[in-house]
Subunit: 504 residues, 2 copies
């Protein structure tokens, strides 16, 4: 008996589905696909173009060679692997490749089996799976996965919970679908458990007439925009509250592999991590909600946007098979499947690298981002007038840092409201040559969008950051900025702030 034999099945969450989901019937044509590969059947069922008319004879991709020490070596023999992705299965030298004739055909809307198999093994390396019928489905990225999750669970007028500052696209998608978005208070360690508990336990009083939430959406690691990482100790407590109040947790983890060591503010040079083994690296990482999930109530959204490239439009969802089947049904009448080129190419690279090679790559990326973050913060501390700056947290993951500027000593603070001053500083920064995004763009407004319900002031009692009206927040990124530009940006930022506040 293996471990997975003794694991329980996921619980049934179909009572949380939207009317759209409940109305959706699986396509009867899908039943014919059982006969598609049957050699005894002349299959005239599906309108599939003949593969010999795909104008792609072969595809060759050059990628880096593990363990990536020669990353910047221009000699391809030392630093490159070539993936020859063949057109037809007969020509295959690499048995784990997805040939173009299949990758570019209809079907396989769950994802190509070779790629799903690699990703399942990858998942088992990094997470603990606590129920039997977990599964994976490919997506066209986590933005699409989130849009699909909203359609699957929420009707107009339903309610979800989000971190009080969150990825603006995630918020906009929910708002436009007419979903009530309720902000969760955060501190430097992420969602404040006591605040979440208060809100759920006193829901009817605090949110009179507003339906109880169905989903809790979180970006646990290197959160966008705040850069905050939800600490591991809070996760089991949040999970328990989700169990008690029957919430689905959507764990959006694009920055999971951009975790870094803490930044040393003391002025001594920051080192990047060197791991003595892959096990040490794996153990260093945040524990996922997926690893805590015994019910099948967590949907984890992964993406290659930060580990390969955003334009791949490739990600995957991990969760219970019954819920992923519902995504599958929706995908078949919307995106159909992830792009076949992306699947063939990413699968080709991953299978040539192997699991160990991919881990080397994830470590490599993390090291590059650590260097970028360190350089950014070195300059930030060097040039900015720190007496008027605060942080929600010094980022230990992701691409973003946020600064809070204390505007109480600014001459305009008595003439303008906080939003006006934020706008004023945004414009000032741009006029002087540096662009940061405004905190208010990421702020979840504590209002019910559609229902006639009311929000009691009690909802805000334990909110910390957002009531500090003498601070304005800006988000910056160190992801794609070259070192010289980063230093210049920080210099400008510092000089604008000093001038505005009459410092120096």
């Amino acid at each position: 008996m293996t471990t997975s034999d003794i694991l329980p099945q996921a619980k049934d969450f179909s009572n949380l589905y939207s009317r759209e989901t409940l109305r959706r019937f699986p396509s009867p044509i899908k039943t014919t696909m059982a006969y598609f590969q049957d050699p005894n059947i002349v299959f005239l069922g599906a309108g599939m173009p003949p593969a010999e008319l795909f104008p792609l004879k072969s595809l060759k991709v050059e990628t880096h060679k593990p363990p990536f020490q020669d990353f910047k070596n221009l000699n391809p023999e030392k630093s490159s692997i070539f993936c020859d992705i063949q057109r037809d299965i007969e020509n295959l030298e690499i048995p784990m490749d997805v040939p173009l004739s299949r990758a570019l055909q209809y079907g396989n809307s769950r994802g190509q089996k070779e790629l799903l198999s690699f990703l399942k093994s990858h998942t088992e390396i990094f997470h603990t799976l606590n129920y039997k019928n977990w599964d994976i489905i490919t997506t066209t990225g986590s933005t699409q996965a989130w849009d699909a999750a909203l359609r699957i669970f929420c009707n107009e007028g339903d309610t979800i919970l989000l971190e009080e500052y969150t990825y603006s696209s995630s918020y906009e998608a929910a708002m436009s679908q007419g979903i009530n978005c309720i902000p969760l208070s955060m501190d430097s360690k992420g969602i404040i458990v006591e605040s979440l508990e208060l809100l759920l336990e006193n829901w009817d009083e605090m949110y009179t007439g507003i339906p109880k939430p169905k989903l809790l959406y979180t970006i646990p690691t290197g959160q966008n925009p705040t850069g905050i990482t939800l600490c591991d100790e809070r996760k089991p407590l949040i999970y328990k509250l989700a169990q008690k109040h029957n919430l689905i947790i959507i764990e959006d983890e694009p920055y999971y592999f951009l975790q870094m060591p803490a930044y040393n503010e003391s002025g001594s040079t920051n080192e990047i991590d060197r791991f003595s083994s892959h096990a040490e690296f794996i153990n260093s990482l945040a524990k996922s909600f997926l690893s805590l999930d015994t019910d099948g109530r967590v949907l984890r959204m992964d993406s290659v946007s930060k580990t390969f490239a955003p334009g791949c439009r490739f990600g995957w969802l991990t969760g219970s098979k019954p819920i992923l089947d519902v995504f599958w049904d929706l995908h078949e009448v919307s995106i159909q499947s992830t792009c076949g080129f992306a699947q063939s190419i990413i699968n080709g690279i991953l299978n040539r690298w192997g699991q160990e090679g991919y881990i080397n790559w994830l470590i490599k990326i993390r090291q590059e981002y650590t260097l970028k973050r360190n350089w950014c913060l070195d300059n930030l501390f060097k040039y900015l007038p720190m007496n008027i700056i605060r942080f929600a947290s010094i980022p230990t993951a992701g691409m973003f840092f946020t600064i809070y500027i204390d505007i109480s000593k600014h001459p305009l603070s008595k003439k303008m409201d906080t939003q006006q001053i934020e706008n004023y500083f945004y414009d000032k920064f741009v006029q002087n040559g540096v662009l940061l995004t405004m905190g208010s763009w990421f702020k979840v407004k504590n209002v019910a969008t559609l229902t006639t319900g009311t929000v009691s002031t009690k909802a805000n009692v334990v909110d910390t950051m957002k009531n500090e009206s003498n601070f304005i927040m800006f988000r910056g990124t160190y992801a794609a900025v070259d070192p010289a530009k980063m230093e210049l940006g920080m210099k400008i930022l510092g000089s604008v702030l000093k001038q505005e506040f009459g410092l120096d």
Copy 2:
């Protein structure tokens, strides 16, 4: 003054938008992108991964060489073109390529400019544009474009019109969104104009309590499943009705370039088209609704699924810029953009072929499909007992043929209803080794799904095919079936039918 200067602007159709669309606000972060390429700005605004960390050093694709006469020649020198798609813009030998560093980055969610430019020229070759502010946006295929169109225009309980038999995914998408789907009667030349007119003119009486339709969805050319092509003479009449009743026309045209000459039933060998010029080919094609559109009320959905490959998940929408802007806003919080690999590769091939080379390819594909259709029909007429078979039309486009079987002389016709007999024949065919899809799977049921409205029997008065309850319908395809299998399939079909009806 050029022609486009004197063209009118598209009309405003925002009164037809869904609540979701009206609630959607353009992302404030998008406003920062104006500064993204500004050399005077240190841009810390967007979390874009550095392109040097994309593990794609180069990409090389082998495709066929125009004019494709050496299509099956295995010597790459004679028959292949190689597209070396470079990583960085500096290395570009082909100025029209989309380098990987851009194709795989965030942004460009409208589509890569080189590709949009090619597709706009292509559109101008094949269609007449009658208003000034027409535009194009890329999609992840027409299934996604249709799902997006429904979200953009329809609320739960709204109404759309579809051909009485239609692509099952299109129907399922609308049904699950709670949209009332009203079938339009068809004959061998497509939508029956008088029937459409009757329905629109008497809406309140025929569909009491059901909102008037917002969209008319049609697959004009080689329709799925019927194989029917809507004749050009009816299109201006349908367009006029759409104007009168303020309908958006969604023209779903995946099979547009699979138009073929009429099939000759006389037994003489069918020839494939040879065109003396590209102009002759272009003039031979059906006139699109887009070419009739003076208001900007037509949305044309194109796709490379049949001209390149379905797994590309790449298509485009043509329509008025204000409406496409709304798709853009939805795409940014759902699919984000079409896969960068697909865009780079398809753009690379198209720009090396040029417009003329692409037209050669479209002619080549059409010729291949003509051969397939001819062989299918040759065998169908040879083996099937034609005295019990009827056709909606002999296909002159697309991938599909449909047969209607007269069941009035079958022993079960008095014991079972039509649906049961259809199921019975489906099973019989499969048991004997041939699979066709059932007509009922594609049939739009004349019911209001959600509202409390009622459908008067008058709605059916001019329906022709669907009231003939002594016929059952099956759809077959000749797209991907090899000649020997096709002959075998038709032999089996013939022998099952002869046995069932006691013929021979």
